[in-house]
Symmetry: D2
Subunit: 357 residues, 4 copies
Amino acid sequence: MEKVRVGIIGVYGMAGGMLLKLLSNHKFVDITLLVSDSFPDKNVECLHKSLKNLFPYKTIRYDTAEIIKKCDVVFLAKPHGKFLKKACSLINQAKEKKIKFIDLSADFRLKNANLYPQWYNVTHSDESLLQKAVYGLSEINAEKIKNASLVANPGCYPTCVLLGVAPLFINKFIDPAERVIVDAHCGVSGAGRKLIESNLAMEVEENIKPYKVAVHPHMPEMEQELGYLMQENISVLFVPHVSSFKCGMLITTYLKLRKNIPVEKIDDIYNKFYQDKPFVRLYQGEGYPEIQNIQGTNFCDIKVIFDQKTNTCIVISSIDNLIKGASGQAIQNMNLMCGFDQAEGLPYANILKKRNY
Amino acid sequence: MEKVRVGIIGVYGMAGGMLLKLLSNHKFVDITLLVSDSFPDKNVECLHKSLKNLFPYKTIRYDTAEIIKKCDVVFLAKPHGKFLKKACSLINQAKEKKIKFIDLSADFRLKNANLYPQWYNVTHSDESLLQKAVYGLSEINAEKIKNASLVANPGCYPTCVLLGVAPLFINKFIDPAERVIVDAHCGVSGAGRKLIESNLAMEVEENIKPYKVAVHPHMPEMEQELGYLMQENISVLFVPHVSSFKCGMLITTYLKLRKNIPVEKIDDIYNKFYQDKPFVRLYQGEGYPEIQNIQGTNFCDIKVIFDQKTNTCIVISSIDNLIKGASGQAIQNMNLMCGFDQAEGLPYANILKKRNY
Amino acid sequence: MEKVRVGIIGVYGMAGGMLLKLLSNHKFVDITLLVSDSFPDKNVECLHKSLKNLFPYKTIRYDTAEIIKKCDVVFLAKPHGKFLKKACSLINQAKEKKIKFIDLSADFRLKNANLYPQWYNVTHSDESLLQKAVYGLSEINAEKIKNASLVANPGCYPTCVLLGVAPLFINKFIDPAERVIVDAHCGVSGAGRKLIESNLAMEVEENIKPYKVAVHPHMPEMEQELGYLMQENISVLFVPHVSSFKCGMLITTYLKLRKNIPVEKIDDIYNKFYQDKPFVRLYQGEGYPEIQNIQGTNFCDIKVIFDQKTNTCIVISSIDNLIKGASGQAIQNMNLMCGFDQAEGLPYANILKKRNY
Amino acid sequence: MEKVRVGIIGVYGMAGGMLLKLLSNHKFVDITLLVSDSFPDKNVECLHKSLKNLFPYKTIRYDTAEIIKKCDVVFLAKPHGKFLKKACSLINQAKEKKIKFIDLSADFRLKNANLYPQWYNVTHSDESLLQKAVYGLSEINAEKIKNASLVANPGCYPTCVLLGVAPLFINKFIDPAERVIVDAHCGVSGAGRKLIESNLAMEVEENIKPYKVAVHPHMPEMEQELGYLMQENISVLFVPHVSSFKCGMLITTYLKLRKNIPVEKIDDIYNKFYQDKPFVRLYQGEGYPEIQNIQGTNFCDIKVIFDQKTNTCIVISSIDNLIKGASGQAIQNMNLMCGFDQAEGLPYANILKKRNY
């Protein structure tokens, strides 16, 4: 297998750091370019202390020509909206070179450009890129991702929710007239490295902090993708909380079923849907997903409980927000786009690659 | 004000230890008797290291006669079911002496004796005590508690949920045909001091663990009390999680409103309902309840958010499970039963007592 | 007992917030003035969320005349050096009014003014106030504190070390030719509320971070006070670490003994020295001081272990850095200065005050 | 490179679980046998939840013949002393088959059999195996390890201390008449998975707990190996603490230097000593080792500070106790014994293997 030349735009952030850490383990990747406009011309260990002595690379300032010259695959790991115009320009200029782009921000996730001003306080003027971008939920959209040149890597919360409930929506078990309630708890890494009071240890340890209740921008993303899965309009009520740990998230989703659903088939439906997906693990006997079981991995752990009294499915799903919720899924998508085994470079690759799918 | 002589049955547990700690600060209490059958004849600092050098008391084995002789008020702080028969016998024998009992277990909370075998794996044969027991939710049942001789101190989860939603139920804003969804996160102290794997630090730190999903015994307790508030049958779907901290809980409750409810009155309704309740704090502008704001206190912090898109009220409420959810509310109840200021002995008593209610 | 009127200068910081929280419980205090130059004209709950609904007070900007008019006791809780000139001016102006000052910063702790430029990057020009200030280590200097008008409240690390080792120094058990090694671990609250990277949850949780190794400014403070205790020059090697919790510190001090010391008398010496000190707890049988035993209290827990092989005393001492290491000791000092019981207003006051000393 | 067949004896413990996790990533390993006498005939995910769906292996009961038949390399990961007799018997029986053994317990670390009753409460009767065993500190004893058939994998604390100070001892910078003070803080995983009170989350979170002060059995192990390095008798004063996190340790060691040591050469000495050791990272400019920088890796991070005032070297070293302090170093030793690259299978192997040493 030939190696690809990989660039990361925005290597100071947590997603950028995690990309670097995971890619160091990838057999078919040469890291050729690292961009940090905040910390240019630095060794990466100045940006990420734990990477001390590991990489010889220096960061550069953003430079379109350099990127086009040196990269086959580009990860865009900048904050939402901030880089949108430059990203569109870069992607359009790079078209002929067949460079593959994976954007970890929300800049290409929503198909309806009109939603951007409301939810991300930014105007999106490149409709054609929005339509061209493939929503990179690897387990659901693998076939489209394989042929994509631009992948919009999903948000961490939508990844965790969508994987948890997709089989119920695709099989039309859900009553679309009822709201989907998504109660989510995420570690503080979800908020990035910003120097704001809510990220201080004194505000996070031994605490839970609700935030953006019913107004978080991952809500329209969930509604868009759940709508696609069932071909109906879906209303999501999304309540996120910051919890007292560093990495990982656990989400409890409450879904009202249609009447007369054959609930005894739920386990089979999930088994079949995820039978050849190495990164989804189903809990069908005792035990529940827990954050400690997925920390540091690309797994999504899922359990579905049907409560007869209220005709409700409770779906508990858990991912590492920095890996399956960001950099890990981005690499999984790169693997799909480049024809590599989708587990290559990810934790437990050696075991997962042996499997037949 | 004359002092009361107080005994604690079950002083080794977390509730027992917290009772001792809080009561040490109470002006009108003489601790006269401490029972621990697991650690009899020990100084209390052997049971609770942080109480080193503070109390001269020794524990004794359970002894009905001694309790009746030495106590005006008795706190029963034993595990559910284990002490039920002895408790009934003690309470019945103590009737003439007008001893006041506050039971922190679930043994007298459910009015329907038939629920005990199903939810607590124990048979309850003393129907008359069940009917006599007053459900000790201090803010709601204060008048009944004042005259009670037996108070069933509420569970931690029901306390937090009921205080959060009571005004909506009493005002019949809630659609009783819809299930009430209660998503709760509690610190590990909720599980007590038992030597079981799920209480180990390696299982709790940097983790979230769902447990007893839709089958937790606090569910029928919530249904009973919510039913009383609105005089309708109410279905609760309750999902508890153990979170990565020691003390405190935060609950997010989702309630479908009836149609055409004057939602703009919600804030006023809450303000009026809780205007003279020193331990309830309402969040009506910016900010949300957080666990760190209530840790170590008897407060219940509450915020109500109405989501128009889904006609749903989201109620976020937070208490310290060991204080307002157990020992603090027990002392608040003792204060009501004995005619003391209800804040006496509780954190911030000095400030709260100055207020006029 | 008559009430005193109390002002706090610098109420936004952690020490200021803790002063307010503890003083709310003090029987003989009226809070009459709160200064915050960063957040003037705000209710204190804007500065400290957990104090919601508790205090009616508003903050004001710094105003010398107001302070002199409205306060009998003033707590100065500003960062080191930043307020030094204003503090000197205020204290000198207030002389005639017999206002008592307790400064929680380092501005009056070092007797040698020449040390300030080196250790605190500030020039100290008021020699007479430096000499007048009493070092407020309550257990050691109680008699001087009682008559002081200006108390320099000790640093958190020096408080914990000095209480731990004082009896060994006073009894001249220590070899002054050998360095005293102080290995300290403190929670992140020790660094205050500043928005700096090292205070972020991602940098603190599940971590230990050494800092200012052998160059921390509490080192000369320890050397000064240990020198006084034994009337010899003492060299301290001090290594502080930030540990993965919010409050509290635990220090392990290593002391070489002189030859032929009657080490069997150490326990007696400590017992006698601390027999009438309510806030010192000695561990002489099994068990060690632990941070959880002192969190939220004004206690200093101490254990002394003699290692024969190396003729070394290992002293383990632990305090809550925000209470005994700052605001709690400040209130203890106010109590001494005003003739109140020294435990008044502090946790477990009700029990501790009953004791005879 | 040919694969080796690997067995793990004691797969339920933390070291056993980590071996499995790391070996899954090793190119030249076939896991052929897993022994658990506590949980025989179970899939490994019953023993380690986070390994769900990863391995097809079942555990068996201990069976000498099976081990000899199916393994080229055997990891012994049982508690100290408990398995000593069986281990000796197995190793002696396996001699002809040239099976390589790596024992992660203390059973073969001390050369002086007389120390076992005192420090481990067990009698050691196989002197010849004790002498034959190579102390597996990979960076120091690589040459001996390459030819060893029995490696005694070092304790976590000794690994961290010895790597931190070895260059100072080998260069005879240390005054052997002075005691070496080792102040260590380790996460709770150091205590294993035992159901004891001190391992409960309520005892560990937001706490520090000193234990076995000056009587921990890793002390004679350090003294033995430091003594070898300098060919002098060395006295160690070792004080371990359990800190408030799961994995990792940070140790601060205080060493008195001989007089007239050329301290300006210390950095060079360390650079030279560790120049070709991929798992040691030296901090010589700004910054200190921190636990978060080594968590999940096989690195040992080291900083040496010379304090002129006290003629003392302060060495701060940090490792992940479960990896470099146990299973990671065990695999590093297997790699040396089998002729693999020493980084194979360990985190960042892909990068570290590219280096020339």
